[in-house]
Amino acid sequence: MTVISSVKDPVALSLVVVSQFNATPEQVWDVWEDPRKLERWWGPPTYPATFVRHEFFVDGQSRYHMTGPNGEQPHGWWRIRSIDKAHRIEFDNGLAGDDGEPVPGMESMPSSVSFEAVDGGTRMTSVSNFTDVEQMEKMIAMGMQEGTEQAVGQIDDLLSSLN
């Protein structure tokens, strides 16, 4: 996997990450469509996701939770806005309450992912659009940041053990 580019716009509050995988668009699509595969990568290693509902069609809904190292279980949801198999998905996602349902009045986050066959693999472009800083902070507080820091820590441990 190679990260091709990452563009952050702090005024528009958007993030675009482009990566290339050594696989066909259908294979990359499959890790999004198959909930058992999706839950292996959506959350950080220390915050694995469990998708209890995953409807991969227009207006389809997903419900998931992540499980943190201390047993905490933040919930989240998706709703598919448009879908074009092995090419593009657009979906809204957001935080859910303890009942697993979207929190009323809380802004959702529009996201899109596109898949493009290129020489030797597939280029995947993910676009995240945030509403405001408060929303971003809530999503980070969901455990994603902790998971990210832990993953970085694991790499550091590995590197220092090699010395």
Partner: protein
Amino acid sequence: MATGCEKITCVQTSTWLTYNHMVVDELSDHDVDRIFRALADRTRRDIFERVLITGLSVSTLADDYEMSFAAVQKHVGVLERASLVTKERRGREQIVHGNVPVLRRASALLDMFEQIWMQRDRQIAEILDEKGKD
């Protein structure tokens, strides 16, 4: 509209971002709401991006938009109330400057989300690599 400057702004902003990994926590949620309401308008975003690079007078800004001086001044007022810009009196002119620290919090958060996506992409690659070995 001020065309031609948007691209330069873009490059400038991302270069500046590379050097900025600091979280600024002094803003309340109320402040943050005001900031992003101020930036909801395209002209205001354009003004804000331009004054981040260099201070500009209200009249210089007004020359570049197809609207009245008063309308541009009103936009600057909204940005000022959201603390995105400050105004400095220089002789008969008012110079508008971008307020860099308020952008830092947004960019620090974007850095975190970027890390999240890179981690996700690494995990996707691991799953795809397993398939290749079968």
